[in-house]
């Protein structure tokens, strides 16, 4: 099977822009093996859903809205009522079909990890409260930013993963790079 082509093409190859050295943020292409949506089916007993999710990742069954749990190389997050996402290593999805509709978005998402002065940069495009109290490490949110529908995951105090629909990859990168001009940015890393 061929390598999955970057949705950013050459646009996120090694480069830099704006600011002063050292750069305020780094931008890296996120290329997780899987980005899967789990949509709860109506009418399925909650106990069945919980058991299924518990098998996917300990703690996944009790995830609050906007929270994530990491397990076996992937992250499970509850991004909306009755909707979860799994990001990272390809999860074992067998057994989920009874309670969930599984939608594979692995090719459908373009992701950028923004690290460094990330909250300052993202604050120019998002209206979300990006303080650690407003959006804690491990938080996940479906937000609008830079004119796009985004999935945002806070990996660390200064590190955010930003995903958009693949076709908007260039616009997301344009927006991020432009917002990062004042702080300065550098790119070139690929995070599989």
């Amino acid at each position: 099977m061929p390598e999955r082509a970057s949705p950013f093409g050459e646009r996120l190859a090694a480069g830099a822009g704006g600011g002063t050295a050292p750069p305020g943020v780094t931008l890296a292409w996120l290329n997780p093996a899987a980005f899967v949506e789990l949509l709860e089916l109506p009418g399925v007993p909650s106990a069945q859903l919980s058991d299924t999710l518990a098998a996917l990742a300990p703690g996944a069954a009790s995830l609050a809205l906007g929270a994530t749990v990491d397990h076996a190389g992937y992250t499970v997050g509850r991004i909306a009522p009755r909707r979860l996402v799994v990001i990272g290593a390809t999860p074992l999805l067998a057994g989920l079909e009874g309670g969930f509709v599984i939608v594979d978005d692995s090719h459908a998402r373009a992701g950028v990890r923004v690290a460094g002065a990330a909250a300052d940069v993202l604050g120019k495009g998002l209206s979300l409260d990006l303080s650690e109290r407003g959006f804690a490490v491990g938080g996940i949110a479906a937000v609008r930013g830079f004119g796009l529908a985004l999935t945002l995951v806070r990996r660390a105090g200064d590190t955010f993963d930003v995903y958009c629909a693949r076709s908007f990859a260039a616009s997301l990168l344009d927006g991020l790079a432009d917002a990062a001009l004042e702080a300065g940015w550098r790119s070139g890393t690929v995070l599989n």
Binding site: A5, E10, L39, H107, L126, A165, S167, S171
Partner: protein, 995 residues
């Protein structure tokens, strides 16, 4: 010449000096100066011309309340008009120009308007140009609009960046005077996240020059300590040079940070200005108070200034506003200003106090500074040619009887204080009249805010500190935190009682024009005239006279105007009330509102996974909604027309490859997916076999066609629906709405898969051969893969899903693969098809092919067509219910005279363009008959017919095949004779695509 730089004092950096120009004249300034302070120090009194009468105007204030001294700063694309000279910091090399004058500030031709003042009174435009039946406005509008306005914007693009940021906090403190600093300290100490926004470059407000002592320290030092302590806290953000201009719904406030306005040009990549959208759980409005002017003849002369402004110029900027100063006051605060000015070295000759009795201690202090105190007197008139030269005094009880003239080059006015209630008014009930301070104070909050300090009527420093402390505690409690006990600062400040002021707003001496609103040239007589003419509401008064409009928003004029109106109506000011103050509090540059949503950042674009290939191979890209798609691939010497004709011919004769990734794709899955699709489509899908696709068409509730596309059954409980590119989002929304509201119990979920799949169509007689060469795992023969069959295999090692379906009329297959593999698959197909002469084709050729086959697409599915109109009524199931069925049989939708789909053939070889109307041939007089019988929806050059064809919706169209009409296109000047035909121009039996 009157103002000058004092030998010492002020917060400016006297060790450095630089120059800027004002109307070409070099002005010396120091770091810390504003344009206004430097101009006053230079002795400049004439700074502007007024809006309507072009009267000479000077500087009235020292802050955001300045109504007159508006200037244009910078040049070229950076030129910015209507900047308050009192707010703009002086910058080395800055170009400053006066405005609203010609040919020069000193000799302004339109000053002739003053002669016409008697007729240019309130309501002049309404009466003269806009009375019913009058058309004068149409005649004079252009000239009037040219004369109106103040500064002129640059016509050049602004080269600077403007950015937007969002901020969230527990407590936003607007203003950093004593009340603001105390409130912020209290909130910060409770562990809340605090933002302090301050318009000035330095926090502390009037503490920086008040001369008071707090906790044993000079107030400025105390403020600096408090500011430093706040700056050192992680939970506090201090935002100097930031004006909060609007208080909107849901605790959202707009603010503009002047990041680089104090520089000639922004440095590096910093923006010139940054717009902040601040969401705060609680807001402390510590916005202070503006001193009021008094209304008397000559009160707009250059040299007439607010007393507090003169005090600030002396103490903060080391500038004396005149060499012979008279101060006219109605209260105690004028005395404090006069004494501070005297201490700073400004020659104040006289205090004119309208009250019968001067405050004993303050008057004694003033006299000790050599100032004469004249109680029970008013200024009846100020006179002078280029500015104030002398001041007429009269007894308060007999203002029309001048008893004395005093020479003066500066007349300071202290007419009481108006709390800055603008933000409170934007997010609260009507401001409330407070008789104690003779001013409006904030009304009942509608948002989570607390007014503090002078903004809340606490005019003395001690009151302000106490009020700030209370507001801080309120904010802490409102945020659910616990306030820490904090000692109340001890205040030493002999300022008398700033609230002690006479209810005197106008001196009716009768000696000429007395201005209420200096920015809009509204006089006291204008207010009275509005009342006489029946405008008794303050809202009507505002609109009839323009009082308090524009950027000024009545900062200094509001209360005097309402006092005049109240007197005319025989009411109290509180009974008359005030208008609601609207945002913005001060002018906001359009650049700040636009931020980075300009140019390429105005809206996002969507690119398919093959975008780079298209661009590298000569594609002329077009915008289709947000999508970028290749219209055609241009070869050397080709235009788009030539390219798409070549591409369409190649598909008909060989094979072509087109990127259809933009098609909407929606996963519809769950045990009830088939049932659900039966309800949303007019035709049936529950019976579709796994591994098969079907063309489907869905209606809106009102019976009109909504969208079409093929839906593929991938498993017993899983379908992949495709939609038109344009309707992808709308269809998903439609499905979600019905599932959420009508059928929540259906065990179905839907999700967009548009971006998951890279999609391409291989079409043409050689398509099968090319695929057989490129792909593995699929038998492409007709028997093994009949039309609408779905098969899975690999191309270039990538998994693909193929469906045999055709919109071109040729044998064709749609190939879906993961978007990340699309380029590899596409290139493999191009390589495999090279020997067959495969071409990549774009949207134009794709359109030509589908029009030849008569397939309706976006232009025909325009929301006004029915299945019957499009000749698709045979698809509608008669056995089941579906969305739109109930209303599709309405008489209006089954009327035989409705416009229905037909084909058109150009009879003279010219294009039949979209939008052209179908009209009958020439009548007896040889003229076309313009009664429209239909319109052209899609058109193309047909490679099969080698001529122009079109699809159209024509009244009773199917009954009129063979009829000759005209496609009239008056907008583009083309009138083409056409013949009505079947919409299917090519292979009507489908022999080729089913081969």
């Amino acid at each position: 010449m009157s103002g000058y730089r004092l030998a010492q004092g002020g917060l400016i950096d006297r060790s450095r000096a630089f120059t800027f120009t004002f109307d070409g004249q070099r002005i010396v300034a120091h770091p810390g100066d504003t344009i206004a302070s430097a101009l006053i120090a230079r002795g400049t009194r004439l700074v502007a011309r007024s809006f309507k009468y072009h009267r000479p105007r000077g500087i009235l204030a020292a802050g955001a309340e300045e109504p007159s001294a508006l200037v244009t700063v910078r040049s070229g694309g950076r030129r910015e008009p209507n900047v308050q000279a009192t707010m703009a910091e002086a910058v080395d090399g800055l170009v400053v120009e006066s405005q609203n004058r010609w040919p020069s500030l000193n000799y302004d031709v339109l000053a002739v308007n003053q002669l016409a003042a008697p007729v240019l009174s309130a309501g002049f435009y309404y009466k003269t140009f806009m009375a019913p039946g009058q058309k004068a406005w149409m005649r004079y509008e252009r000239a009037i609009r040219r004369a109106a306005g103040l500064g002129i914007a640059s016509g050049e693009p602004d080269p600077d960046r403007y950015e937007k940021r969002a901020a969230h906090c527990d407590v936003l403190v607007v203003g950093s005077g004593a009340a603001g600093l105390v409130a912020a300290t209290s909130a910060a100490a409770a562990g809340l996240s605090v933002v302090v926004a301050e318009s000035d470059p330095r926090l502390g407000g009037a503490l920086n020059w008040s001369g008071a002592t707090i906790d044993g320290l000079p107030a400025a030092e105390w403020a600096a300590l408090r500011t430093g302590a706040l700056a050192g806290r992680e939970n506090v953000v201090l935002m100097p040079r930031t004006t909060v201009y609007g208080y909107f719904d849901d605790q959202q406030l707009g603010a503009v940070e002047r990041v680089a306005d104090h520089k000639l040009a922004p440095e590096g990549h910093e923006p010139r200005q940054r717009h902040w959208t601040i969401r705060a759980r609680h807001v402390v409005l510590a916005t202070g108070a503006f001193e009021r002017t008094l209304v008397f003849p000559g009160n707009d002369l250059p040299g007439v200034m607010l007393a507090s402004a003169a005090e600030r110029y002396a103490l903060a900027f080391g500038v004396a506003v005149g060499r012979s100063v008279v101060l006219f006051t109605t209260g105690d605060s004028g005395y404090r200003a006069a004494c501070n000015l005297a201490v700073a070295g400004v020659a104040v000759s006289t205090i004119v106090d309208a009250r019968d009795t001067a405050p004993e201690a303050l008057a004694a202090e003033a006299r000790a500074h050599g100032i004469t105190v004249r109680a029970g007197m008013v200024v009846a008139k100020a006179m002078g040619r280029a500015g104030v030269a002398r001041v007429a005094l009269a007894d308060t009880e007999q203002p029309g009887h001048i008893v004395e003239w005093i020479p003066a080059d500066a007349l300071l006015v202290a007419g009481g204080w108006s709390p800055v209630v603008h933000l409170a008014s934007q997010s609260g009930g009507p401001p409330r009249w407070d008789e104690r301070i003779k001013a409006f104070v904030p009304g009942v909050p509608r948002g989570a805010w607390t007014a503090a300090g002078a903004c809340n009527g606490a005019l003395s420093l001690a009151e302000a500190v106490s009020s700030g402390s209370e507001a801080g505690s309120t904010a802490v409690a409102a945020c659910g935190a616990t306030a820490r006990a904090m000692p109340c600062p001890s205040i030493v400040h002999d300022e008398g009682d700033p609230a002690a002021t006479l209810a005197l707003f106008e001196i009716e001496s009768g000696y000429g024009k007395a201005f209420v609103d200096l920015q809009n040239d509204v006089t006291a007589d204008d207010v009275r005239q509005a009342h006489v003419e029946g405008y008794v509401s303050v809202e009507h008064l505002k609109r009839y006279t323009t009082l308090g409009m524009a950027t000024d928003q009545g900062k200094t004029s509001n209360v005097p105007a309402l006092a005049i109106m109240a007197k005319a109506r025989g009411l109290t000011i509180g009974e008359v009330g005030t208008t609601r103050f609207r945002p913005p509090f001060t002018g906001v540059a359009l650049g700040a509102l636009a931020g980075r949503e300009i140019g390429a950042h105005f809206k996002p674009v969507r690119r398919t996974a093959l975008d780079d290939w298209h661009l590298a191979n000569g594609a002329a890209m077009g915008n289709y909604g947000l999508w970028q798609r290749p219209r055609a691939y241009l070869r050397v010497g080709e235009d788009i027309s030539a390219a798409y004709k070549r591409e369409a011919k190649a598909v008909r004769g060989g094979v072509g490859l087109v990127d259809v990734s933009t098609l909407g794709k929606i996963v519809v899955a769950g045990p009830d997916a088939g049932t659900f699709l039966d309800r949303v489509y007019a035709n049936t899908f529950s019976t579709l076999a796994v591994g098969r696709a079907r063309y489907g068409i869905m209606l809106r509730e009102d019976g009109f066609v909504f969208d079409d596309g093929t839906t593929w059954r991938l498993a017993e409980d899983r379908y992949l629906m495709t939609t038109t590119t344009a309707n992808a989002a709308a269809v998903l929304q439609h499905l979600e709405l019905w599932l959420a509201t009508a059928w929540p119990d259906l065990r179905v979920r839907v999700a967009s898969a548009t971006d998951q799949w890279g999609a391409m169509a291989v079409a043409g007689p050689q398509a099968r051969a090319v695929l057989a060469k490129a792909a593995s795992g699929i038998d492409w023969s007709h028997a093994a893969m009949p039309p609408m069959a779905i098969r899975h295999g690999e191309i270039a090692g990538a998994p693909v899903m193929a469906c045999r379906l055709s919109f071109s009329g040729e044998v064709a297959y749609e190939i879906f693969t993961g978007s990340g593999h699309a380029l590899a698959v596409w290139e493999a197909l191009m390589q495999a098809g090279a020997s067959a002469g495969i071409v990549a084709y774009g949207v134009e050729a794709m359109g030509a092919l589908r029009i030849e086959k008569g397939h309706p697409a976006g232009a025909e599915l325009d929301g006004r067509t029915t299945l019957h109109d499009l000749g698709l009524d045979g698809m509608a199931s008669k056995k089941k219910q579906y969305i739109g069925k109930a209303l599709m049989s309405r008489p209006v939708l089954t009327d035989p005279s409705r416009k229905r789909l037909v084909g058109l053939v150009s009879l003279d070889g010219t294009p039949v363009r979209g939008g052209a109307h179908i009209v009958a041939g020439p009548a007896m007089n040889g003229q076309l008959q313009w009664q429209s019988q239909g319109h052209v929806t899609s058109w193309t050059w047909s490679p099969v017919r080698e001529g122009y064809i079109a699809l159209a919706l024509v009244e009773r169209g199917p009954e009129r095949h063979g009829e000759r009409l005209y496609a009239a296109d008056p907008v583009r000047g083309a009138h083409t004779p056409v013949e009505i035909t079947s919409p299917i121009f090519y292979d009507p039996q489908g022999v080729r695509q089913n081969a």
